[in-house]
Symmetry: C2
Subunit: 358 residues, 2 copies
DNA sequence: ATTAGCACTCGAAAGGAAAGAGTGCCAACA
DNA sequence: TGTTGGCACTCTTTCCTTTCGAGTGCTAAT
């Protein structure tokens, strides 16, 4: 069921303008600025029909039109100009991304900062829940009371911890434990680390000082933490830039929701966004009650193996979909490229901007 | 230069009430509720004098009185009831603190979260700049293309990184490098890691594959990062709870300032807050322009060695100084206890609440 | 020194009128 | 049949005025 070309043009103009100004758009203004060759009266007729069709609405009788979620949907799917980033933008972005990634480790959190700065909306970076295993355990003997646990994980990160003990241990014991843990605790997921396994290891090592349980505890903690989805939120305060959040209560509600990790964009769980695709969720399309009149733009990146993450941006339904989608898409592609293991598309290339709804 | 007892009582009552309600306090209300045995007219006279003395002011002729910064100062220094936490509060706090600290590593950031949740104000956790050195370097050989760098720092943390190389290295080389780094790079601060040192190490190891520089780069990065003061901010959105930040612009200004690390509470630099002391900075006493009409409460903790940090809470001048000071003081003491190296005061004990101005 | 009483001030809230933007609809027109 | 100018109408926004009330400062009495 299509609508006439002219209606599309008008709808696009209304959405564009409303995104820009946050003010309802009137027929006169469209006639003058939108460059379609007809008078305001004609446009009024068209607008009335667009309202009837559900794409637009009027805040009150004598106001201009604003898009409904359905209107935004149409805009995002068909109407909006797909922004390509300019050469300078691409370069700048690349530079900043690389810089951020060098602060590795917390790269995910800094990417969310970057996304927020770039878009002027709050941004989240999410890592998906994924089973993680230990690849390798090392125990570094420091002195009689101290050693370091080093865990290499299947997601190519390293976790380490300094352990200080009241009792003294000898180097042999540390080595023995290291071997035992390497044979018993690698390649298994967190739920396979059972008390039974720990006890048998403890016996095998002839460990009467509780070393085994200290190490096992760290392993469990590390696996649990790595397996859990986590969220980093940045730039919540950007919300206050948006006129729709001039009401402090409204702003506060959403900000609190976001600060708590947007827990955790329910969209994440069901129907994970495929890598290198940008998904747009408009207003009521969101599952979370708190987001019912906001929009979320999510891009997914692929960090190799089965590691995968999301970067998302949250804003009012009147969001700059086009620009944000372009930037997020680029960021996600950049992340896939830098973090991802294997095959890497050439540096300068955009991933295609697939935009889908719910 | 003292003021009469009754004036003090009245001033205290005004501040208490204003903190509670955020509304100017009138003479009638005081006469009825503040339990000083005199009539509203008498109180009016006293209030007028307190205004003349600079402790109170009137937003306009026919409104009640609100405290000036000088009034708050007097309140904080002499008047306010020094809150002790109740037994339950103490226990609850201890439990939460311990829980947070187990998520070690990012303990500082989670303490700031805790402080914010506890006080319902935005909170910062700052670590002071302090020279950090490497205690020990370990290189773990994983496979021909991969090894792990493990650095143990003088601040008792461990940093590690997985390095993946395009070229293949043998185990001997790794061992040799490890020994060289341990003898050459430990116990020195970041600025002693010179290109000259790196080059001589590279030559000594006979390293033609750039391993040395990879390791050195990580060392430099780690030292730099560890030495830099850092800030974690939590609960910015709590600001929106406060009536004085109903104006979104005002809120936004302060929130942005805080999000950028409150850069970095200039108070930190000059005249570091002594450990186990709580410092209160009221309105214009703050150096940063953005804080001129807010108050900051800062507690310092001592994490052993010369490691030291701050936890701070930011709010309107009308903030609940007493409660916040008590909580921060407790938190700081708890942190000193758990992180600090040596002598530890007994678990349940409060540190004394010293409150000072500028 | 304290208190009751009273006139006064000033902001906040409530009401009302005017202005302005934008619509819907009709009649005229190509 | 689709388009256009014109016009009456609606509804919000803005501004002004009025009212209301809280709280004061002052004065005279205790």
């Amino acid at each position: 069921m299509g609508i006439s070309e002219r209606k599309k043009k008008i709808l696009a103009a209304v959405v564009d303008e409303y995104i820009r100004t946050a003010e309802p758009v009137g027929s006169k203004h469209l006639a003058e600025n939108a460059g379609l060759g007809c008078s305001s009266a004609t446009i009024r007729n068209e607008l009335a029909e667009l309202v009837a069709l559900g794409y637009l609405e009027q805040p009150h009788t004598s106001a201009g039109r604003i898009p409904t979620p359905m209107g935004y949907r149409m805009y995002v799917n068909e109407l909006m100009e797909r922004q390509k980033l300019s050469a300078e933008e691409t370069e700048d972005l690349n530079r900043r991304l690389t810089a951020k990634l060098q602060e590795l480790d917390d790269s995910i959190s800094s990417v969310s900062k970057l996304a927020s700065q770039l878009t002027n909306y709050p941004a989240l970076a999410l890592t998906a829940a994924s089973p993680v295993t230990i690849e390798r355990v090392d125990l570094i003997y420091v002195d009689a009371n101290t050693f370091i646990i080093v865990l290499m994980l299947s997601n190519r990160t390293v976790q380490s911890k300094l352990v200080h003990l009241p009792v003294s241990v000898d180097q042999q014991m540390v080595q023995k434990l290291c071997a035992l843990f390497n044979s018993g605790f690698t390649k298994i997921t967190e739920d396979a680390v059972t008390p039974v396994l720990i006890h048998s290891t403890e016996r095998a090592a002839d460990d009467s000082m509780g070393l085994t349980s200290v190490i096992a505890a760290f392993i469990i903690e590390t696996l649990t933490e790595a397996a859990e989805p986590s969220a980093y939120v940045s730039g919540e305060n950007q919300l206050l830039n948006q006129p729709e959040f001039r009401d402090p209560d409204k702003a506060h509600r959403l900000m609190s929701f976001l600060s708590n990790g947007g827990y955790i964009l329910p969209e994440t769980a069901e129907g994970m966004v495929p890598a290198d695709e940008v998904r747009v969720l408009i207003g009521p399309e969101n599952v979370a009650e708190e987001l019912k009149d906001s929009s979320v733009i999510i891009a997914s990146y692929d960090a190799g193996d089965n590691m995968r993450g999301l970067i998302g941006v949250v804003g009012p339904t009147r969001m700059d979909y086009s620009a944000v989608a372009a930037k997020l898409s680029f960021l996600a592609a950049g992340l896939s490229r830098k973090l991802g293991g294997g095959e890497q598309p050439p540096e300068g290339m955009h991933n295609k901007l697939i935009i889908k709804g719910d």
